[in-house]
Subunit: 351 residues, 2 copies
Amino acid sequence: MPQNPSANLKGQKKINLILVGFGRVGRAFYGLLREKRALIKSRYNLNPTLLSILNSTGGIASDKSIHPEKPSDICSSDLTQHSLWQKGLRLEHVLKTTPAGVLVECTPSDLQTGEPGLGHLHLALDNGWQVVTADKGALVVDFHGLREKAVRKGLGLGASAAAGAALPTLDVGRVSLAGAEITSLAGVLNGTTNYILTQMALGTSYEKALEEAQAKGIAEPDPSLDVGGWDTAAKLIIIANAVMGLNLSLKDVDVEPITDVSSRTCVSVQNGGKSLKLVGKVHKIKNIFQAQVKVEAIDKCHPLYGVDGAEKGIVYFTDTMGAVAIRGGKSDPRAAAAALLKDIINIYHRY
Amino acid sequence: MPQNPSANLKGQKKINLILVGFGRVGRAFYGLLREKRALIKSRYNLNPTLLSILNSTGGIASDKSIHPEKPSDICSSDLTQHSLWQKGLRLEHVLKTTPAGVLVECTPSDLQTGEPGLGHLHLALDNGWQVVTADKGALVVDFHGLREKAVRKGLGLGASAAAGAALPTLDVGRVSLAGAEITSLAGVLNGTTNYILTQMALGTSYEKALEEAQAKGIAEPDPSLDVGGWDTAAKLIIIANAVMGLNLSLKDVDVEPITDVSSRTCVSVQNGGKSLKLVGKVHKIKNIFQAQVKVEAIDKCHPLYGVDGAEKGIVYFTDTMGAVAIRGGKSDPRAAAAALLKDIINIYHRY
């Protein structure tokens, strides 16, 4: 049976897309868009059309779709080999010469400065483009600046891919809990550290567990942002600022790495019926919201108990709706791309 | 710190509300609206204003808010005692004489005919009113008819309160998984039966567990819709039709009651490391989606394992985002009212 048969009541809307950043997530988005094009047309009456891809040295741009119809024509990861390659092509030029649509930002940015992504996002909004982003840095540094600009201009700012990707932290916190007061939240927001701690609870050493995670592609070659707790802190800040309207920055979060935990402790906690997790938490202490990332022993009746391996989860505690917990959602580049695509659809589609 | 400081950039929008049905959920909505009015104004720039309350014999209506400012003025559950009471006041009259806003439908309707709620919802849409509803019957019988009318007229149809209430089944299925293919779903959608089965797994008899649930206000005096599986089937149909675009009706669902299960079986399954749940499920058999409500033994690694007592949960299995599970959300009338309010906010507010 067709999904959402109520679509197709209005004419199809063309959405011009510019993709910035062509690493793992950018390439996954490129592939996913081709794969999902027919479904997005039939289910949502939307026709997202990729007109440009840019990286730090240049890019390709066209006034018609640069998306090949045949999978065999897929753009190589080396953009410079593309027939339309223009060295030095700049985002500003493409934004100004293309009818506005959505900027898809996939550049990994510095958590301290938010650049280069922050500049891209402001530039896009300044030029009347909607934005969706997988870039944590820009949002950690200036979520409210971006959000206020987007609201003032009536533009969308999709941040799902930077805040848990396929785990819908922002949707649930803002849409599903609209009108509720969130009194606290807790999340297992980093699959790499959760995988390592889960393995350590089975008796594996930290070093061995990290090696395994790297071999499986779960951990990066340089795992320091993950194991140091900074990736969790970054997501926590984005979620707290977007969902709870807080104004946290990295310096406000008390961050603890997982590297101080021994395998013996993990096993012993597990044997005691609890489970060690790297938990990002926002809660009130003396009536002021405090944020922390700490290794905590989670009880069996806690909603995050059982969120094991590379899985992620979050629980919101509210005044009117009780505790609402979400878990799961794949953590690979394709899932991040799916989160970008979801945000694009939700800018245009109403339920 | 204030939540969502980016609000207040545009003028406040007045939203006229008509509340139909003044039972447990209707009264909870009335109370919650008063309690949340200031927050909704400051956070969302919205000013929902209750102008009318109707029941099956008449109602009250005014051209200004009928919401008292002081809690002590709260409208008694007996509408006929209100100074504005008009016997025989009809919804159609109020809809036609009030500038359009949102109809809040809280009439419990028959699962076979969908009435009287179905008539209310069509009438409201016909008169240009948005609708939000806690009424399962109307949606089970004619979700697509209502949805198509709403889409054609550019109106919202909020159904969260009828499909899990504070458990955001529809938001996650439609918004968070937009663009993904849902290959199957499974839910523990009824708190009463889940409470009973959880107690039975501890050795309590069915009769005793039901009595306890009734004493705690979890089970209705007549529990037949719950224990017979029909409440689960109704929610399953609404979710499958709204999220997956299926066209299921009650006759399409294979429904099993929990009354055939013995306490001994529950205990034995529990001792074997699994857990008996009344699971509503939509999955493909020979490439065709099939719906069923059955008592199933859930494995420890299943996302619904641990959803115990009066708690509810749902898991969506998808092509691009993996399995996304939600659990929790209170089940009382106040939580259902919060789900109605959430849907109203989301008709007007953009993130």
